[in-house]
């Protein structure tokens, strides 16, 4: 009896081995079909093969479907954007017009690389469920994990739980938006595994990186339902920001009251540093932009970095300028041996770009602009 059992066990074990082998062969076949280098293909594990296959199929559907939908054509018109008719737009988009052939100076891949490098970011295509269908291959530089490792995974696995709500809101597509360009602009915290010095890339030691994602949503119902977001993602901030004459820096306490601003602020907006110390930035801005500033402030509090978008800052004496601020929370600086007097609690550093000239210079909108300072 035991011999029988033994025999059965052997048979089933052999069968299982055969099944596994067959399965592995199919996996190899599948991996060979993926548009990747052979060396990469060889080292993919089974889940990765499937993930990448799914990505491939989805991207195929997305890119082939793009010239088809009416929705896109009409949305281009609705937005007052460039083209009059859908066809023109498609042609332009495809870039296969004669013009493109004439000035054939740059290879598409080179152009893309240049683009992404200049942007210092990577491309992400995000499905409605949050799967990172596609990531450009320079994602490795920014995130520490390679394209093949990340592609196909769900973004919720890599982002801070507190940001999930925001991501979900951004993934939602309303009917209205289909016709209006459906732009997206948000900031999330994402896990990033440092890769400097070629050291270990360990998800455990991953830090949170703040990612500024901008792009648009795209609805594609035929041939397959591949609605998604196409985003460029830029890690914030850079460790050095080059300043120009039209930017100024300022420092704020966490409630956005000024603790410092540089002289350019005086040149550009007319307020002296002393005047501003202790004043809230909310006093200095146009009321209609309160929401914009609040969102920026919240982003800073939660995510430690933010890009504000445009808002108006009131100019001393009258009028306002359009500005945009890139801000970050600076960690506390404790007094050290070399700098015993320096103590800096948590504060916010803003680099503000002045976008416009002074508009409505004679218009005094707020009390702060009047000659006598509003004493509280």
């Amino acid at each position: 009896m035991t011999a029988n059992k033994e025999k059965k066990r052997v048979i089933s074990r052999d069968a299982a081995r055969r099944r596994r082998r067959v399965e592995s062969e199919v996996f190899v076949d599948l991996s060979r079909l993926l548009p990747l280098q052979q060396s990469v293909q060889d080292h993919l594990d089974k889940p990765s093969v499937i993930r990448l296959t799914i990505s491939y199929i989805r991207m195929h559907a997305l890119l082939k479907g793009k010239t088809g939908t009416k929705a896109e054509a009409s949305h281009a018109v609705k937005c007052g954007q460039v083209m009059k008719s859908g066809e023109e737009w498609r042609e332009c988009d495809r870039g296969r017009d004669d013009e493109g052939k004439k000035t054939d100076d740059v290879e598409p891949s080179e152009e893309t690389n240049m683009f992404l490098r200049t942007l210092e970011g990577f491309l992400m295509v995000l499905s409605i469920e949050g799967d990172m269908i596609y990531l450009s291959d320079n994602v490795g530089i920014h995130m520490g994990l390679t394209q093949t490792e990340l592609m196909g995974h769900n973004i919720f696995e890599f982002t801070h739980p507190c940001d999930h709500e925001e991501i979900r809101n951004n993934l939602r597509l309303t009917g209205e938006e289909v016709w209006c360009g459906a732009k997206r602009d948000f900031v999330v915290r994402i896990k990033s595994a440092p890769t400097h010095r070629g050291r270990s890339c360990n998800l455990k030691s991953a830090t949170w990186k703040v990612l500024h994602c901008q792009g648009r949503a795209k609805v594609c119902v035929a041939p397959a339902s591949v609605s998604c977001l196409m985003l460029t993602c830029q890690p914030l901030p850079l460790s050095h920001t080059l300043l120009s004459t039209h930017t100024f820096t300022s420092q704020h306490s966490m409630d956005m009251r000024f603790t410092y601003c540089d002289q350019r602020m005086t040149l550009l907006l007319g307020y002296s540093t002393e005047e501003l110390l202790g004043r809230s930035i909310y006093d200095l801005c146009h009321t209609l932009d309160t929401n914009c500033l609040t969102k920026n402030h919240l982003n800073l509090c939660l995510k430690s970095q933010s890009v504000s978008g445009q808002y108006r800052m009131l100019v001393r004496g009258g009028g306002y300028v359009w500005v945009e601020s890139h801000s970050a929370v600076i960690p506390s600086v404790r007094p050290s041996k070399s700098r015993p007097g320096a103590h800096q609690p948590l504060c916010i550093l803003c680099v503000t770009y002045v976008l416009s000239g002074v508009e409505e210079p004679s218009m005094q909108l707020s009390l702060d602009q009047t000659v006598h300072r509003y004493v509280r």
Partner: protein, 559 residues
């Protein structure tokens, strides 16, 4: 191998050890459970050295479950079967997803087995490749997508275009096709032109600065975002420095070519760009080896509201104001002038109560108190606001307290005011009485002229104090409650009915209480003259300089 893995991390938490040395428990569970895949030898943990990133397996499936630390800690001691189960579940999910993607799988009503799905996937991929498209290229660069498609994807997502301009004269050397979509100029129109032809005149200086050689701006200002300190850049001046690939961002307005004759300007976002030394210079450049240019990406600013005729599309009979907590105007939208007749600066610093019609004082004061204590938007009823010309306009407003996200304190009150109707006639007593007959909330009171409360300047001061009182109330209330309330509880979250009963500790108790009961919920039932009398009474206590302008800021509260 698994033994070594487990031994290395066994017992200790991974946290205290340097990242590169430790084999994390997550990884241990991963490596232990990784089935013998195609290349069994390469089942490394994530934490192994990263010199050859491509060789690493995409073994994230086991780590990236979003499970927290404690679960991962347990994994180490978890039975092998549990780990296996999780792996199987994950695989099944993936297979399901895959089958949903494959057209031939879909019609099948019953669930297909793994092998079949995989085989169908192979077939499907082969068919995709077989179709005449760039996807069928045999040799891919590592970008996964064909170049052309990727390029378009990027440009579409970024809503931008790439351009390269020479630094010396701003000549556009290259611009990508997507510029057509954004600026409506064709490539041919732009290449070879000067960039400055397309920049808003006021921004020329900015752009010149970005393009200029460093000789002109020897001291670049850099800030270290880590410490917020300015770093004095001791950079050698000269073309060589440009190789550093310094990144810069700037905003400028660029011309947008509409089909019609008129050329409009469109707000246009930063180019993030790098300086690059390009060895292949123009043939006509003498010193081609030092030809430097700016490689930039231009993107439409996502928030630009172009064509600033007005800003947001609000109805022309609407305007926005800001009040300090005591009701003083701190911000007045310029549209107010056409409606109210006052220039903003005429209103700034004065209390809104000075302009409210007396009939409306009670309910507005009530709303004022409410809004300071609530996070919601508070609607007022219709009320009359005195214009410069003496007449009244009927407004209806929506107020909300703007709270500083960090301190949770009220910074100011934002008021969106809508005009309901205009009263063109000039004011007089008869006017006032006729108004009062028409006013919506006050049908039964006949208006009497109260000594001191009329349209004389003296009255203005009294009205203004209402706001101050309300603000004081709140501050006192906060002060009293600050010890008891925790940081996370906003003082405004406490029920409103407590407020009127709160005794005011500051001086003028009697009058304050009177005012409280006046200004509180019961006020609307009182007649105007009673309310007016109450106001006068309170003021007699607090205001020693009747008839003179008093700086109410000196009073109890301070920010």
């Amino acid at each position: 191998m698994s033994d070594r893995n487990t031994a290395a991390g066994g017992g200790d938490t991974a946290r205290g050890e340097p990242a590169e040395d430790v084999l994390v428990e997550e990884n241990q569970s991963g490596s232990v459970s990784l089935p013998s895949l195609m290349t069994p030898s390469s089942a490394p943990c994530m934490s192994l050295s990263m010199e050859m990133p491509r060789k690493r397996k995409g073994s994230l499936d086991n780590q990236s479950d979003g499970e927290d630390q404690s679960v991962k800690m347990k994994c180490f001691r978890e039975p092998h079967s549990q780990i296996e189960k999780r792996r199987r579940d994950k695989m099944n999910t993936l297979i399901d997803k895959l089958s949903a993607m494959i057209p031939t799988c879909n019609p099948m009503s019953r669930k297909l087995d793994k092998l079949t799905v995989l085989r169908m996937a192979v077939q499907h991929l082969r068919s995709l490749k077989g179709s005449a498209s760039s996807f069928s290229e045999a040799n891919y660069k590592p970008s996964f997508l064909p170049d052309e498609e990727l390029k378009h994807l990027v440009l579409k997502a970024a809503d931008g275009f790439l351009f390269v301009v020479g630094c010396d004269r701003g000549k556009i050397v290259f611009v990508s096709e997507s510029v057509t979509k954004i600026l409506n100029y064709s490539r041919a129109e732009l290449i070879g032109q000067s960039l400055f032809d397309y920049i808003h005149p006021k921004d020329m200086g900015k752009v010149k600065e970005q393009l200029s050689a460093s000789e002109l701006y020897p001291r670049e200002r850099l800030i270290d975002a880590k410490t917020g300190l300015q770093v004095q850049a001791d950079l050698p001046v000269g073309a060589a420095r440009l190789c550093s690939g310094a990144r810069r961002t700037f905003f400028c307005r660029m011309k947008y070519n509409k089909i019609s004759i008129k050329v409009e300007e469109k707000e246009f976002q930063a180019s993030t760009s790098k300086k690059k030394v390009d060895g292949d210079g123009e043939p006509d450049k003498q010193d081609s080896s030092y030809y430097s240019c700016l490689v930039a990406v231009g993107r439409i600013h996502p928030h630009s509201s172009p064509q600033v005729n007005g800003e947001v599309r609000v109805k022309p009979i609407e305007f926005i104001t800001r009040y300090a907590m005591d009701g003083k105007f701190t911000f007045v939208d310029q549209r107010a002038t056409t409606i109210l007749g006052y220039l903003p600066q005429e209103l700034l610093g004065t209390s809104c109560y000075e302009y409210f019609h007396q009939d409306d004082l009670p309910h507005l004061a009530d709303r004022h108190r409410k809004v300071l204590r609530s996070k919601d938007k508070i609607e007022t009823d219709c009320y009359k606001f005195k214009t410069k010309f003496g007449s009244f306009v009927t407004l209806q407003s929506q107020w909300f307290s703007f709270v500083n996200p960090w301190t949770k304190e009220v910074e100011y009150i934002v008021s969106t005011n809508t005009v309901i109707s205009y009263y063109p006639s000039r004011t007089s007593r008869s006017e006032l009485s006729s108004n009062s007959k028409n006013s919506e909330e006050d049908g039964n009171k006949s208006h009497q002229v109260i000594p001191g409360i009329s349209t004389t300047p003296g009255a203005m001061i009294y009205a203004g104090s209402i706001g101050t009182q309300i603000a004081n109330e709140l501050l006192d209330f906060n002060r009293m409650n600050s010890s008891s309330s925790s940081g996370s509880i906003s003082p405004f979250s406490l029920p409103q009915d407590k407020c009127p009963q709160t005794p005011n500790q500051i001086s003028n108790n009697n009058s304050q209480l009177d005012l409280d009961s006046m200004v509180g919920p019961g006020l609307s039932s009182l007649s105007n003259d009673e309310a007016a009398m109450a106001v006068i009474m309170s003021l007699l206590e607090t205001d020693t300089n009747l008839g003179e302008a008093v700086d109410f800021e000196e009073m109890h509260w301070s920010s």
